[in-house]
């Protein structure tokens, strides 16, 4: 093994091509300081700002006119708003998992991906957190969900999953921000030291809190970072399990099943990895970061995507099996409805986009092909949206009694909220790419050092 390595210094087990530490900072820190593609960036920002404006209008009109502008009605009181919410928060989960879980498992390839994956998490959770609030009939009372001593002598009902969800989301957003920022501080210092203009020096200097890379600081920083990571992993699992329990604690056929929490967590990870793969491909191509995000990274991302997709498909199979095996006529009829009912298109879209297209990733040539990986990531992201739609609507539109059977058709305002949050996500992501280091420089340098040490050990043998 060692001999083989010394002959070929870029053996396939290595993540990054060997390069000087300085070239990492030159490639990454220079992007916020001397942004290379100003024109394209402005066009992108303007386009996403347009959709963000649509979001503002959609929310403004909603506050003016009420939830009647949506397609929801008896019996389908949960429509696109809840499907969007579950979809967004699921996308966010992958960023934390890729960053925190793979850090604890010492998977060094994550070091090229964790920064933009965490940014993706932040923005996705931000988009998600909007929906439960605007979905309230009287959104201006949203703070009643928070426990605080008040003159009405009211408290939230802690036996309800809706209140769990408030805690899970607010705290997940806060912890994501803290984790993102703590990991960013050393890189902000690098950008500060590279900045030549006064504005950049002050901006990044203050943001980096005067970080100087002292050995004692690094030791404490690393301890804190790992503690935060170790706490973030169970937090993510609890957040999406909480979302799943919003459904499964209800009594309705198609929702009340114990597989939902793990099934949701895996689906969340699956869809989020799809988005991370897409972002990795786009950033790598746009900023020519081939030496930092290599085809090996794409290959590994694709493998995780495939694995989490297969576990999610197990969830689909067991969900259907449980419904059939229960012998409950309502469970069975909901299952048949999903296969053949009025909304069967959402079920089969989810199955095809999530699992049929995914099988391409068994082939190494597909995994290492950026265009194909991007397309499969897009397919998974879309497929998982259909899954959320299917889960919300197919259960609600056929309740136990024929008197509570009805239809659901999303309106323009439903769709404008989805389009608007996607616009907001892109808007925030454009700002992130422009003003912050999008790849964790010091963690990439750590990988480079280990590879150097390994290469030297291999040579000396």
């Amino acid at each position: 093994m060692a001999d083989e390595r010394s002959v070929n210094p870029q053996a396939p087990t290595e993540t990054l091509p060997l390069q000087p530490y300085g070239s990492v900072s030159d490639q990454i820190a220079m992007i916020p300081l001397h942004y290379p593609l100003r024109r394209r960036w402005l066009i992108g920002l303007a386009a996403s700002a347009l959709f963000t404006l649509l979001l503002v209008v959609a929310i403004g009109y909603l506050f003016y006119a009420g939830v009647g502008i949506w397609g929801i009605n008896s019996p389908v009181f949960w429509g696109l708003a809840i499907a969007n919410y579950v979809w967004w928060i699921g996308l966010g989960n992958a960023g934390t998992l890729i960053s925190a879980l793979l850090l604890l498992l010492s998977q060094q390839w994550r070091n090229s991906l964790n920064r933009f994956a965490e940014a993706m998490t932040l923005f996705a959770v931000f988009c998600a957190a909007m929906f439960p609030i605007i979905h309230l009939g009287r959104p201006w009372f949203f703070y009643w969900l928070l426990p605080y001593p008040n003159v009405m002598a009211l408290w939230p009902q802690f036996r309800s999953p809706l209140v769990w969800d408030v805690f899970a989301n607010v705290i997940y957003l806060l912890v994501s921000i803290i984790f993102f920022y703590i990991g960013l501080i050393p890189d902000l210092a690098t950008v500060r030291d590279k900045a030549r203009g006064r504005l950049g020096q002050v901006f990044f200097g203050v943001l980096s809190l005067g970080w100087r890379g002292s050995a004692a600081h690094w030791q404490r920083w690393r301890r804190t970072y790992r503690i935060c990571a170790a706490l973030a992993v169970p937090l993510v699992v609890s957040v999406h399990s909480g979302v799943a329990m919003l459904f499964s604690v209800g009594q309705l056929a198609g929702w009340q099943t114990t597989i939902f929490p793990p099934y949701f967590v895996m689906g969340a990870m699956f869809s989020g990895f799809g988005v991370v793969a897409m972002i990795a491909v786009v950033l790598r191509h746009t900023f020519r970061l081939d030496s930092l995000v290599t085809t090996r990274h794409l290959d590994l991302l694709a493998k995780v995507l495939l694995a989490s997709g297969l576990i999610t498909s197990y969830g689909y199979i067991m969900d259907a099996f449980t419904a059939w095996y229960s012998g409950d006529p309502f469970e069975r009829s909901t299952l048949i409805d999903r296969f053949t009912g009025a909304y069967a298109w959402s079920y089969w879209s989810a199955v095809i986009l999530n699992f049929v297209v995914l099988q391409g990733l068994w082939f190494e040539a597909v995994r290492r092909n950026p265009v194909l990986l991007f397309l499969i990531g897009a397919s998974v992201t879309t497929g998982m949206w259909f899954e959320r739609y299917m889960l919300v609507v197919t259960t609600l539109y056929h309740d136990f009694l024929p008197s509570s059977w009805g239809w659901y058709v999303a309106t323009f305002w439903d769709w404008s909220l989805l389009a608007g949050t996607i616009g907001l996500f892109f808007f925030l992501f454009f700002l992130f790419v422009r003003f912050l280091p999008m790849i964790s420089m010091f963690e990439v340098k750590e990988v480079l050092r280990e590879e150097r040490v390994e290469a030297r050990n291999a040579r000396s043998q």
Partner: protein, 179 residues
């Protein structure tokens, strides 16, 4: 200006982490104690080599987490049992299994906040004006260079005599941190 030539500290510049680690070990053996090192990324074992005490951050996290968990449980119990009890189908008011999820989230929040605040306090950050920033080329410490900080007031080796020792450590350059 009688002390104009007496720098606050010497900053030894190294081109890679192994040289810094070796130099730090040798200086430490030679009896230097007021050492610090500055690196672009965490180096395994460096803090131990220059003799840093253990951190209390894990304890901060534990205490913060416990405060979040028990504070959260108490809040829920007080709210739903004492202050505002609602009878839902005769189910118990003190629903501990249902209280676990919010309590767990609050425990995570408490632990993360305590660890992060503890880290910043122990590190003395934010601090925007440390003297080391005055040294020439210190900006490379966040890029690709590794620096060892040696105080000239070391009791074991006073500055002019100690310089000869330092010269043998294989540093690329030796800079002075102005007083």
């Amino acid at each position: 200006m009688p002390e104009a030539n007496n720098p606050r500290a010497l900053l030894l510049e190294f081109a890679n982490g192994d040289d810094l680690l070796a130099a730090a070990g040798r200086v430490r053996e030679a009896g230097y104690r007021q050492l610090d090192a500055f690196t672009p990324f965490p180096l395994e074992g460096l803090a131990q080599t220059i003799g840093d005490r253990a951190t209390r951050i894990p304890w901060f996290a534990l205490i913060g987490g416990a405060a979040g968990a028990f504070g959260g449980l108490f809040m829920q119990w007080y709210a739903n049992v004492v202050s505002y009890p609602i009878n839902v189908g005769g189910r118990p008011l003190a629903a501990w299994p249902a209280f676990i999820l919010p309590a767990f989230e609050l425990a995570v929040l408490g632990a993360v906040l305590a660890a992060v605040v503890g880290m910043l306090v122990e590190n003395g950050l934010p601090r925007l004006h440390h003297p080391v920033f005055e040294a020439e080329r210190f900006g490379c410490a966040s890029d690709d260079r590794f620096f060892l900080w040696v105080a000239p007031t070391e009791p074991h080796l006073s500055y002019p005599a100690g310089r000869a020792v330092l010269d043998e450590l294989g540093a690329v350059a030796i800079h002075e941190v102005p007083a």
